[in-house]
């Protein structure tokens, strides 16, 4: 498979091995932060499947993250079902809700898609927030019992790292597949895609289902790291934050959102302990970004490429 021949894949392996060894060398707190970054990175990557590659304004992506977390959390906390069912049910439930909400949203275009998506997603949040007897309402549920091998910090760290690795490989394959290529073509020009025989809405819906599935996986991983669920997981503020991660890292690149997630989680953790105004710093970074790197940190590369293409075109041939 071509993925194993990529240069960046080699770098990824090195990084992966370093991360495998990390818990033995760094303090517990940093291990925990790394695990949080992994979870958030997966969430941002899943959003970027539809936003960056699909061109769909999925404004309320956290709803599906929350559905995944709540499904798994509730099964583990309130039933005596085997834990494996709990872990699998999370992503499946997220994908089902994604399918349901997506069916309404893909009928609309651009911003209208985003508006409907944010309202339907908020509905899901309202259910988690209000259904006190089931979800614990505002308080959520804490101290969810975990199976032995992931109950320790190290155990959960490794589980999350491996789940992230597998998810990223799957996402990369999808990104490079005919499905992914077609999705990017729809982002560029939906009208043209319809004219070459592609059922645009069905294709977009499939993209949403895949993205919400991975958001569900991220939700499950959150439960494993934190052992709790609460309504903030599916609040729209989180969705906005994840959206910013995609923009920050570079939404037309594959791995950009990972970088964006790492940047924002670190900022919140390390600057947030010194000042409550850490979002102010985030704001300044965003303004600088819009002026100097409009395609995100990793998008810089992409822009240079386009520029050299343009140059070649104007020099090489009569335009």
């Amino acid at each position: 498979m071509t993925i194993f021949r990529q240069k960046s894949f080699g770098a990824g392996i090195v990084l992966f091995v370093l991360l495998l060894a990390a818990p033995f060398f760094i303090p517990k707190f940093y291990t925990y932060i790394l695990a949080v970054i992994f979870v958030t990175a997966l969430l941002a990557m899943s959003l970027n499947l539809v936003v960056g590659h699909g061109g769909l304004f999925q404004f309320h992506h956290a709803a599906f993250y929350g559905v995944g977390a709540y499904t798994t959390g509730l099964i583990l906390a309130k039933t005596s079902w085997p834990w494996l069912i709990g872990l699998i049910a999370g992503p499946v439930a997220a994908a089902l809700v994604g399918l349901l909400i997506g069916m309404f949203c893909v009928r609309l275009n651009r911003l209208y898609f985003g508006m409907l998506q944010i309202s339907l997603g908020s509905l899901v949040w309202a259910i988690a927030f209000r259904w006190y007897s089931l979800t614990g309402g505002d308080d959520g549920i804490h101290g969810i019992p975990m199976p032995g091998f992931i109950s320790s910090l190290k155990g959960s760290y490794y589980f999350v790292l491996i789940a992230l690795g597998i998810s990223l490989i799957l996402m990369y394959l999808i990104y490079k597949s005919p499905f992914g290529t077609t999705l990017q073509a729809i982002r560029d020009n939906a009208e043209r895609c319809a004219a070459v025989g592609i059922n645009v809405r069905r294709h977009q819906l499939m993209g949403i289902v895949i993205a919400t599935f991975f958001a569900g996986v991220a939700g499950v991983l959150f439960v494993i790291v934190e052992g709790s669920i609460f309504p903030d997981l599916l609040f729209w503020v989180l969705s906005l934050e994840v959206f910013i991660m995609c923009l920050l890292g570079g939404w037309f690149t594959f791995a950009g959102p990972i970088l964006g997630a790492a940047a924002i989680v670190s900022l919140r953790t390390f600057v947030g302990t010194h000042t409550d105004y850490w979002t102010l710093i985030l704001g300044v970074i965003l303004i600088l970004l819009i002026f100097f790197l409009p395609d995100g940190i990793m998008g810089y590369n992409y822009r240079q490429k386009i520029r050299s293409w343009h140059k070649r075109t104007s020099e090489g041939r009569v335009v």
């Binding site: 498979m1 999808i174 005919p178 009208e191 043209r192 319809a194 592609i198 386009i306 335009v319």
Partner: protein, 244 residues
């Protein structure tokens, strides 16, 4: 192969197409002419499903296709190009055509297998035949206007259409580019046995190339026939050719 009967389309009070009739036989090169605003592009958009007609029939291969969405029309064998260069600007030239070939081969929904190894031969052949093979790795948005229009035709060819519809394929081109595009269209018709329906402003081009010409005015068909017949049609002369 294609028969349009008394087609109607209004935008609010404006009747853009008001009684269009058109016959295209297999293997023919058919041109639609008419002054600006005559409804040529609207007619093409109705045939390929971008717009839905208010009345009339569009019969393709003995089936009424006037209610089908664009992707269904395409799957029945009609591909088209657009008047403004309608391509995938962020993808490479190769990918632009490959997307359409993948759709034709029903591979668009494949997950997990890399696209780079799929439909390579067909895509390369098409790029070769339209003369874009040496630009295949360039990002499509950076092509010159003429090359973008050629790429559009290449994308349409990826569907292996039976009927190819070209909406002003030479709009905005230099005389040289126009000549090259016209000879490309003629070559495609000869080599692939394609049936082609197109509209065009350059009268000389049309009367030299087309085997059948349909004339539109105010959304209505006023004549269709062989070039010499149309040239002699007095009504056409008054409406379009400026009288004699």
């Amino acid at each position: 192969m294609l028969r349009v009967q008394d087609l109607q389309k209004s935008f609010d009070d404006f009747k853009a197409v008001n009684g269009a009739n058109l016959t295209v036989e297999r293997g023919q090169l058919v041109a639609v002419i008419g002054p600006n605003g005559a409804g040529k592009t609207t007619l093409f958009n109705l045939i390929t499903g971008q717009l839905r007609s208010d009345g009339g029939k569009i019969i393709f291969k003995d089936k009424n296709i006037s209610r089908l969405p664009p992707y269904e029309v395409c799957r029945r064998g009609i591909a088209r190009s657009f008047q403004i260069a309608n391509i995938f600007p962020r993808l490479s030239v190769f990918r632009n055509v490959q997307v359409s070939v993948l759709a034709q081969q029903k591979l668009s929904n494949r997950l997990f297998r890399p696209a780079r190894n799929m439909a390579v031969e067909e895509t390369s052949r098409i790029l070769e035949s339209v003369g874009l093979a040496d630009r295949k790795l360039d990002v499509a948005g950076a092509l010159s206007h003429g090359d973008k229009r050629t790429l559009e035709i290449a994308i349409a060819l990826g569907n292996e259409p039976e009927l190819l519809i070209l909406d002003e394929p030479t709009a905005g081109m230099s005389p040289d580019e126009t000549a090259a595009t016209i000879s490309l269209i003629q070559r495609l018709a000869d080599e692939r046995g394609l049936t082609i329906l197109f509209c065009e402003h350059d009268m000389e081009v049309i009367f030299n190339v087309a085997q059948s010409i349909m004339v539109m005015q105010h959304g209505r068909t006023i004549a269709q026939g062989k070039p010499e017949e149309v040239r002699q049609n007095i009504e056409v002369q008054e409406a379009y050719l400026g009288g004699t």
